[in-house]
Amino acid sequence: MKTGAPSIRRRLVLQLALVAALLSVAFFLAVRGVAGNATEQTQDNILAASATSIADALYSESGAVRVEIPYSALSMLGTVSEDRVFYHVIVDGETLTGYDDLPLPQGRSGSRAPVFDTYSYRGDSLRAVVVTRTLTAANQPRFVQVVVAQTRLGLEAISSRITTTATAVGVAFFLVATALSAFAAQNALRPLSRLADAMARRGPKDLRPVSAEAPAELAPLVGGLNSFMSRLGAALGRSEDLIVEAAHRVRTPLATVRTQAEVVHLQMEKPENRQALRQMIRAVDESSRSAGQLLDHAMVTLRSDHLETEKVDPADLLRDVVDRLGPTAGLRDIAIHLELPDAPLRIEGDPILLQNAVRNILDNAIKYSPAETDIRVSMEGTGTCRMTFCDQGRGFEAADIMRLPDRFSRGSNVGDVVGSGLGLTIVSDVARAHGGTLEIAPNPEGAGACVTLVLPCC
């Protein structure tokens, strides 16, 4: 899931993060818009209040319009920010007081409501308001306009502060949302990883259907998996059955032929006929053994592919195999000496494969040993478990040692001994499947060879 196709989690997180980013941007724009409006509105309100308080201070005296600008009218403009402040009081188009070049805000006229405008004055952008009043002086109606204007630096400062805050909040929101997305994706995908874990924990031979509770979305996958496993199980079963069946089909008639030949052999008198029958029986033995090892090899390969391990005591293994092959060795007065260490050892492995490997080695040793010789089977183990089989047979040619474990390769000096060349291949395959090796060396105590199966032990 980590490599190759894009991960679901990454896609989920990316998409959720994208949504979060869009929401953040929308939030940012909305906050800036609303707050910008609000601050502008605030400034307009203060300007209008200021202009109104000046307009309220208009009075007429001896037929002239006068104004006493209240302290608060201008000081209120300085409470929020340090903006520049301008004002202009106009009576019937004539400047009464203030900055006489301060322009009139242009806007909807005719209404008595304050008119706002934004314009440039003395190098700064100003927000201006005009409030109009009509006053009677000397029995004449007088039209008074009060203009108050303020630079927008404070507004910009507030706006930039809002922008900064909105950005920070937006970014924080995005980060939190993304983190939560990652968390949510992880959570949502937990059943999937649980399923994957359950599958990974299974032994290679465990082809039972998955029973773990899976969310509805995974049901088709689990269903497919289960049906696949049942088919795989059936196929594996068929392979094993096939091998077993093939062995039976080959061996049973061979056994009959051999037995018949043996019976006939007993009745034969002429040495040449007896010789011919012996040849025949040997041929039967050879093909039976070859077939057996071929099928064994197939089985070993099958089991190695799905290695199912358990704790195996190598001492028990050796004792058992030596017991099994003792009668065979005894036929030719070959003595098998078993030397085991006192300390118990354990190998993590498939007992059937290990037994087959050990049996093959010992079988080989017996087969190539002359009558009335000794075979020494010994074991030592610290970290690795070394099972050594030394015989007093003809040994291996140095040139053969490397290629012996190859399939169908036999030593160049096997002579008349029946063999298929698969024995050591099987041993070597089993060793490799268990992370071990096969070592072949001349017997240091004289003639013969030592074959050592090296396996990791615990």
Partner: protein, 222 residues
């Protein structure tokens, strides 16, 4: 010794029976599981040779029932199946040993001997001839209060002679009994073993006599 051979292949059964009779044993043959059940219920056997694939079922079923009935008779399984898949299962089911078909009779004989020896003590297999006591199962001879352990081949050779004292056995017959087909040995090898046996028997009145042009026989020393 009395053996039960459970085997559906009649040729094989006949051949095996013949060889065991030659060794001085009695063999009953059962061609199916049903016959085998019947036979074991009526007769006490010293050993059962059991084929796994039988027309009316799996030999393992018989084996399981046999063991659960606490029947002590040892069982050697004759199997044609893959060794890798069957081996552990058979021993776990209570087989004392197994042998894969096709097999050399000498090998089967050796396994029978080993199994019987493990179950030994039940029957006394000692026979006596001319002051010589011979236990074919353990391969021990004693004469004049002295015991000697024979080697495997010496035991088997002496066993042939003990089966019919005085009878002449040809070299080729002895070879067939002593060597497997996989061994290429000359007839002179027999002379070596006969020579050894003669020395082993020297403490007793029994000896192996050479009958020129015919073979050998065991006789009382003159």
């Amino acid at each position: 010794m009395r053996f039960l051979l459970v085997e559906d292949n009649a040729d094989l059964a006949r051949a095996l029976s013949g060889r065991f009779v030659l060794g001085g044993h009695a063999v009953d043959h059962a061609a199916s599981l049903e016959d085998a059940e019947l036979a074991t219920q009526t007769v006490g056997y010293d050993l059962i040779l059991l084929d796994i694939m039988l027309p009316d079922g799996d030999g393992r079923t018989f084996l399981r029932r046999h063991r659960s009935a606490d029947n002590p008779t040892p069982v050697i399984v004759l199997t044609a199946r893959s060794e890798v898949s069957d081996r552990v299962g058979l021993l776990d089911l209570g087989a004392d040993d197994y042998i894969t078909k096709p097999f050399d009779f000498t090998e089967l004989e050796a396994r029978v001997r080993a199994v019987l020896r493990r179950h030994g003590g039940a029957a006394d297999n000692s026979r006596e001839f001319a002051g010589l006591t011979f236990d074919s199962t353990s391969g021990v001879i004693s004469a004049g209060g002295e015991s000697t352990q024979l080697r495997n081949r010496e035991t088997r050779l002496l066993e042939v002679f003990f089966a019919a004292p005085g009878q002449i056995f040809s070299k080729s017959h002895l070879m067939d009994r002593l060597f497997s087909f996989s061994e290429e040995v000359s007839e002179n090898a027999i002379e070596v073993y006969v020579g050894r046996l003669r020395r082993r028997l020297s403490a007793s009145d029994a000896t192996i006599e050479t009958v020129r042009g015919m073979g050998y026989r065991m006789v009382r020393r003159e």
